[in-house]
């Protein structure tokens, strides 16, 4: 009993005991089960399929023997993978940061949608603005909108004790439908002459992020990746090196102890949720300004980036390095199984897309259980 019955207690144990081994085992297990599904349903060798996904994600670019036209293609694919990774790092951090405060932010998807919607609104208006100012303004307002959306859940948790899991789920779907109405037919964000297939106007050229690798017209990699990497560093500094982070971690570990130590628990919950939402809102802004440039009702309803952030955070154990690496893993999976990138002769992309969702679910499922394995190991060791 005691510390291993609470989620955070278990995570503390895990951080002491597991290191990198447990996440690796978790991911391997998920891919193994995914492989079994492949064999059972298609009788194909799973390594061939996973190899195809590996190539589809452009990870073969990293292999020195990839050359010529294959290398050029791999470069394009890897750029797209890194674009997904950018967003997933941030939506992963959105879940991780709240976790550190003992809160489960399931609302990353809604906060991401709010950020993306605000970004497309500001990015496509104010056309005369100076480019750098336009970019900064768009990112700041979208990030703040994400923070406010999540902060609402934090505020409800702090003031009336409404459970953040419930409020963030409700805020997710509220965001989906409000954004759908805003972007849909007759909505204020619908672009001109997009009657039956409503879609927003494109963001102004000046508001598009500079491209650091690849062709701007072929979804090259924008500077957004550096923003995401910087966010990882900021996350690490804030959680482990500042008074704010200390307070939030203390509240997460034990609200009673934190209260006794004079930490404002209610305020910590609001701040933790707001910072979480800021990460997710930033992800939405970077996607819009970095490569999507426009938003449709279909985009809003099909988007899974915020939800995948849950798996990213859980697999990454809420550490900066872990979130970065698992964002790369899931970014590769999402991009490598996309209809555009997966070689249909290797595996049907429409099947593979669902395989990605399945693997993601298995990762989340096993993450919980492998923590338990470690707890059991520790008990056995104590008994011996």
């Amino acid at each position: 009993m005691g510390e291993d019955t609470t989620l955070l207690g278990r995570y503390r144990l895990l951080q002491l005991a597991g290191g990198a081994v447990a996440p690796l085992v978790t991911a391997a297990l998920a891919f193994l089960v995914g492989g079994l599904v492949i064999v059972a349903t298609t009788h194909k060798a799973p390594w061939g399929v996973y190899g195809g996904i590996f190539d589809g994600a452009g990870l073969n670019w990293l292999l020195p023997w990839t050359s010529g036209a294959a290398r050029v293609d791999a470069g394009y694919n890897l750029q797209q993978t890194l674009l997904y990774t950018t967003a997933l790092i941030l939506t992963g951090l959105a879940v991780s940061f709240a976790f550190r405060c003992g809160l489960f932010n399931i609302g990353g998807q809604g906060q991401y949608i709010v950020g993306a919607t605000v970004a497309v609104w500001i990015g496509s208006s104010l056309a005369g603005l100076q480019p750098a100012a336009h970019i900064v303004l768009t990112i700041v307002v979208a990030t703040a909108a994400g923070a406010a959306w999540a902060g609402l859940a934090g505020l409800m948790q702090a003031t009336v004790g409404a459970h953040e899991v419930i409020t963030t789920i409700m805020l997710n779907w509220t965001a989906v439908w409000v954004a759908s109405a805003l972007l849909g037919q007759g909505g204020p964000l619908q672009g001109a002459n997009t009657g039956d297939n409503p879609i927003s106007s494109d963001v102004a050229d000046g508001a598009k992020l500079p491209i650091v690798w690849g062709d701007p017209l072929l979804q090259g990699l924008s500077i957004g990746i550096f923003v995401a990497l910087a966010a990882l560093v900021v996350y690490w500094i804030v959680t482990s090196r500042t008074t704010l982070g200390f307070g939030i971690r203390t509240v997460g570990a034990s609200p009673e102890a934190a209260r006794y130590a004079g930490i404002d628990v209610a305020r910590s919950a609001v701040v933790a949720m707001a910072v979480s939402g800021a990460f997710a809102g930033l992800a939405g802004a970077l996607d819009i300004l970095g490569w999507q440039f426009r938003l449709s009702v279909g985009d809003v309803q099909a988007s899974q980036i915020g939800f995948i952030g849950i798996a990213v955070a859980l697999l990454g154990r809420n550490t900066a390095v872990g979130v970065g690496l698992s964002a790369l893993l899931f970014g590769s999976l999402v991009n490598g199984t996309s209809t555009r990138n997966l070689d249909p002769s290797v595996f049907r992309p429409d099947l593979a897309g669902n395989l990605t969702v399945l693997i993601q679910g298995l990762v989340v499922l096993f993450v919980g259980a492998d923590v338990l394995v470690l707890v059991l190991l520790r008990r056995l060791r104590r008994r011996a």
Binding site: M1, T5, L7, V37, T41, T42, F104, I106, M156, V160, A162, H163, V165, I166, T167, I169, M170, L171, W173, T174, V176, W177, V178, S180, A181, L182, G184, Q185, G186, G187, P188, F307, I310, A311, L314, R348, D350, L351, G353, N354, L355, T356, V357, L358, I359, Q360, G361, L362, V364, L365, V367, G368, A369, V371, L372
Partner: protein, 393 residues
């Protein structure tokens, strides 16, 4: 004073209803002022009732005033010919019941699980599983009955996996439920593409029949609203009554609630916490799956990837909105079903340009639930031990 105060609450509710009513046939008031004033009167009476201490009816009056006023203003903005379409009341009631049916199944399922102390965020996934395996069973088995059964078994199986994780492995229930939703989405999508490919499910799969109450033909309103409902709609309504009776009037229900409120005490008097929770979670999965099967085999007679589209979460919302009680949850399901039905009818309104009201309406269940958990319409208090794994001493 006390006797006067008691009338304020019901009066406020009446004002709220009136606010919506005046804008609809036969009155068809065409200015927003009427509904606005009546709605405000409802809110005002409700506020006064709150001050006199009649909190329950006062809060209902405030809610009725806000909703009625809002609906009334919306309706006055629709042009009259469209309103005739909006208000085929009987058709609207029938549509409400149709949309509420899957929610009823899932919400009652969720209530049973949560009453035993296990949060079921995975309702959505279990519903989706029921929808896919329901149509698969009906297609391969040749009968809707086989389909519904196969769907329920599949949903129960997924729930069993979740139960092992949540009860025996004591994994965080939110994480476990989230995993279930992902797995169900991936697995059903994968199998759907694998089995049915680009063509989708074939047409003409055996569907759950409608119940024709022809003796109601002489009363057009009744016949129009409840005369041709789907069999599963009646089952869902029966389930509400049955679950309420079981949960609150039988020893079995008492055990269920005891396990959810104070598991240690229940175990002390000889109730097996594990057995109760396993049963409750599996039953909840089967019921959610029945709701999903209604969607695929009963409602649209086909399957699409992710076809539940968040209905599991609406059911979760209904459960919370209804304060973990069968009739409360059912009321919320009917309210959410009504808002969907009304939104479908109001869709014509958006053709005049301006924002699509029917799309915006889809956010209503979630916003109402946010309001409910914020404690505006009375606090929603979950079972005490919900979400806490039980360790045998």
């Amino acid at each position: 004073m006390r006797s006067d105060g008691r009338l304020l609450g019901p009066g406020g509710i009446a004002f709220g209803l009136l606010a919506a009513w005046v804008a609809l046939p036969p009155l068809e008031l065409r200015t927003s002022i009427g509904p606005l004033l009546l709605g405000a009167a409802g809110v005002g009476a409700g506020a006064l009732a709150l001050r006199t201490g009649d909190t329950r009816r006062g809060r209902f009056a405030v809610a009725a005033g806000l909703l009625g006023g809002g609906l009334g203003v919306l309706a006055t903005h629709s042009s009259t010919p469209h309103l005739e379409v909006v208000v085929g009341w009987a058709a609207l009631l029938a549509a409400m019941l149709r949309y509420a049916t899957p929610l009823l199944f899932a919400a009652i399922g969720g209530m049973i699980s949560e009453r035993s102390g296990v949060v079921n965020i995975g309702l959505e996934g279990m519903m989706l599983t029921g929808a896919f395996f329901g149509i698969l069973g009906a297609d391969k088995g040749g009968s809707w009955a086989v389909g519904v059964l196969v769907g329920m078994v599949a949903g129960g199986a997924l729930a069993l996996v979740y139960a092992v994780w949540a009860i025996h492995l004591r994994v965080d229930q939110i994480i476990g439920g989230t995993a279930m939703n992902f797995i169900a989405l991936g697995l059903t999508g994968y199998l759907f593409v694998e089995i049915y490919g680009d063509q989708g499910t074939p047409s003409g799969i055996s569907a759950v029949p409608d119940v024709h109450l022809s003796f109601l033909r002489s009363v057009p309103f009744l016949y129009g609203s409840i005369g041709q409902l789907n069999l599963l709609t009646w089952v869902a309504l029966g389930l509400v009554v049955l679950s309420s009776a079981v949960v609150f009037r039988t020893p079995l229900g008492l055990r269920l609630r005891a396990v959810g409120e104070h598991p240690l005490a229940a175990e002390t008097v000889g109730v097996s916490v594990f057995a109760t929770r396993y049963t409750a979670v599996v039953v909840s999965g089967m019921l959610a799956a029945a709701g999903g099967a209604y969607l695929s085999v009963g409602f649209v007679d086909q399957f699409n990837q992710n076809m539940t589209a968040g209905r599991g979460f609406i059911a979760l919302a209904a459960l919370i909105f209804g304060k973990w009680r069968p009739y409360g949850a059912a009321g919320a399901c009917l309210l959410f079903g009504f808002s969907t039905a009304l939104a479908q009818r109001l869709a014509v309104y958006s053709q005049h340009g301006g924002i699509q009201i029917d799309v915006l309406f889809q956010a209503l269940p979630y916003v109402l639930t946010l309001v409910a958990v914020a404690g505006v319409i009375g606090r929603s208090i979950p079972p005490a031990a919900v979400g806490t794994p039980y360790t045998r001493q």
